[in-house]
């Protein structure tokens, strides 16, 4: 540390001193290396140490736990939810989010507002997002989607529903009586929404067990595991962490049968059951913000919306469901003989679409299978479409059986 040490040694010039000083110089670099090592160890060890093991909770049966979820009546909470979705769709980057957010906000600017909740919340379908939720009774809720240096908030306060997109400074407004009272529920985002969906599917074909306990967002929780009994489903297991005190689902994980990372993983990283500040739900459109009323949007795109809805309704007439439980496959006749144009038959576009799928053959003839990690679809040469959360083999079997 003394300023003259090194210089003195150098001028001394004796071999021994020189070697000693070199050693001393090298020894100094131990400090930054140690700092780096300690940091690496801390980064590696702290999560392991913080994971204080699974909490001890009284035994509970699966039935009791499901009842606990149903009875759960959490009126006031605030927390942060991290949701990651990996459907195994091809990564199309910006194109994907453009397609997904689709609806009115894509394409032409006049058609809608970027603060329209239906457009915005569809973004949750892919990637990892951080959400904030706050609720105070049935009349006041807030859901915020945290973006880089921006935020999309959906605020339900009494009869008003506000959507605010801070990036574009646009506001969407609807009144709850106009049928838009729970727009947040259109896309299940919180672990509770997802769990409700999953519990709807529970029937004879499902095994429900309690698989120990876990700690989620610093709270003790039971782990409920829902598994399809039949083989052939792409769903491996659904695991739900249920708060031991309130019965509220804190974490929802859907793992595919094929293994690998979870398809959907949504969980609280921080949660509090205290009453959120009243100001959380106050919203006044900021100066200069473009406000879009819900009925305006409805009036603007009537032809397009209604027409496609009618078409869809007509098409859905032909919709049948084959099989039961987790292995059910939806099918309908697209009416398009020749099926999907394949590389040989359909020119460039056909080749492009065909390249995403695999060709399969069966008793039904031949067709193209499109795969994601959860949902698979088969379009036969006859124009029949089979869709389900089942494996390729199960789809082919369903198509064979339908013949």
């Amino acid at each position: 540390m003394a300023p003259y040490e090194a210089d003195d040694n150098k001028t001394a010039g004796e071999g021994e001193d020189l070697r000693a000083s070199r050693r001393r110089r090298a020894a100094r670099y131990v400090v930054p290396v140690t700092v780096m090592g300690v940091a690496a160890a801390t980064i590696g060890l702290v999560p392991a140490l913080a994971d204080s093991g699974d909490p001890d909770l009284p035994e509970i049966t699966a039935q009791q736990l499901i009842e606990k979820i149903a009875e759960s009546d959490v009126q006031q909470l605030s927390g942060t939810v991290r949701i990651s979705t990996d459907l195994g769709l091809p990564d199309l980057g910006g194109l994907e989010s453009g397609l997904l957010s689709g609806g009115p906000a894509a394409g032409d600017e006049d058609a809608g507002s970027s603060a329209d909740p239906s457009a915005k919340l569809t973004e949750l379908v892919s990637g990892t997002h951080t959400l904030r939720v706050a609720a105070d009774g049935p009349d006041r809720q807030k859901l915020s989607l945290l973006e880089d240096a921006a935020e999309y908030s959906l605020i339900h306060d009494g009869k008003d529903v506000w959507g605010y997109d801070s990036r574009s400074n646009e506001v969407y407004h609807a009144t709850a009586s106009e049928g838009a009272d729970q727009p947040a529920k259109e896309v299940p985002a919180t672990p509770k929404d997802l769990t409700d969906q999953a519990l709807k599917a529970v029937d004879d074909t499902t095994s429900v067990t309690v698989d120990g306990t876990a700690q989620v967002a610093g709270r003790d929780a039971y782990r409920l595991v829902i598994k399809p009994k039949q083989s052939g489903s792409t769903v491996g297991a659904i695991s739900v962490a249920v708060d031991a005190k309130t019965g509220m689902p804190l974490k929802f994980t859907l793992t595919p049968a094929s293994g690998g990372a979870a398809v959907v993983d949504a969980g609280f990283t921080q949660v509090s059951f205290a009453k959120p500040a009243a100001s959380t739900f106050d919203f006044t459109p900021p100066e200069g913000a473009k406000v879009t009323e819900a009925d305006e949007t409805a009036a603007k795109g009537p032809e397009r919306g209604q027409k496609s809805e009618q078409d869809l309704a007509k098409e859905l007439d032909g919709l049948k469901v084959i099989g039961e439980g987790w292995n059910s496959v939806a099918t309908f006749d697209t009416g398009d003989r020749g099926g999907l144009p394949t590389a040989s038959a359909g020119g460039d576009l056909g080749g492009f679409l065909g390249s995403f799928g695999d060709q399969v053959k069966g008793d039904f003839g031949s067709g193209t299978v499109f795969k994601t990690r959860l949902v698979n679809a088969l379009i036969t040469q006859d124009g029949e479409l089979y869709v389900g959360a089942v494996t390729e083999d199960a789809l082919v079997k369903a198509a064979d059986a339908a013949k």
Partner: protein, 295 residues
Amino acid sequence: MSRAEPLEAVRTPSPLWTFGLLRSELLTTFRRWRTLALLGVLAAVPVLVGIAVRIETDDGGSLGGGGGGGGAGPAFISQISNNGLFLVFTALAATLPFFLPMAVGVVAGDAVAGEASAGTLRYLLVAPAGRTRLLLTKYATVIAFCLAATLVVAVSALAVGALLFPVGDLTTISGTRITYAEGLGRALLIALVVAASLVGVAALGLFVSTLTGSGIAAMATTVGLLITVQILDQIPQLDALQPYFFSHYWLSFADLMREPVYWDDLVRNLGLQALYAAVFGSAAWARFTAKDITA
């Protein structure tokens, strides 16, 4: 470069003497034309942004109000025309990725290597400060520059924003309202966080500066490293490494505009800067205290 010291201080350097050294360092740094030019460029950025937004929205329209156009430009730019305070946030978001760290890189890279290439380092070492103390003083000066540079941007943006645009209560990005006074408080907090975000680059620059005897080489290396890291931070295949890049959480300062504030990334950013400061600061110490000073 340091002033002639009274004789009695030679034997036992008093704490007061350290302040004397720091003061002389600060004066030499901030009196340089180069430093003043850097600060001038930084002060000009908010002026340019402010005038551009003003011209763009002069017809009464609001910027980025047209649906899909809202995604472009630096953060908060669409709110500037409604509240001048947002110019502070936009200006910091615009300068943080490049202008600010570049200026810090120049000052930090020059800190030791500049003295060495000007041949003044050995005179500095003749003063009884000790190499460790000299290095700490140099680092403190660079950090003071980080703070000064950030405040120059913030104050310039605040003034331009107040001149060109209306000011008043503002809406946080979470949609809640806060008063102008609270907004000012958050702006100050954001400026401090931005200044703290530069601590890592400052330590890195100082370390590079101890490696070479050429001031230009040290500055170029520091700025080059900065650009390299910024580019690597954009490559999706490297996402496992990116949380350890010093620039990765820089824009987390915007989380201070949420209600309630989202601390996770802010804490990660400050922790990462402290880690860089510790690793490269101690590496700089190891190098500098054992270095042969030939110039």
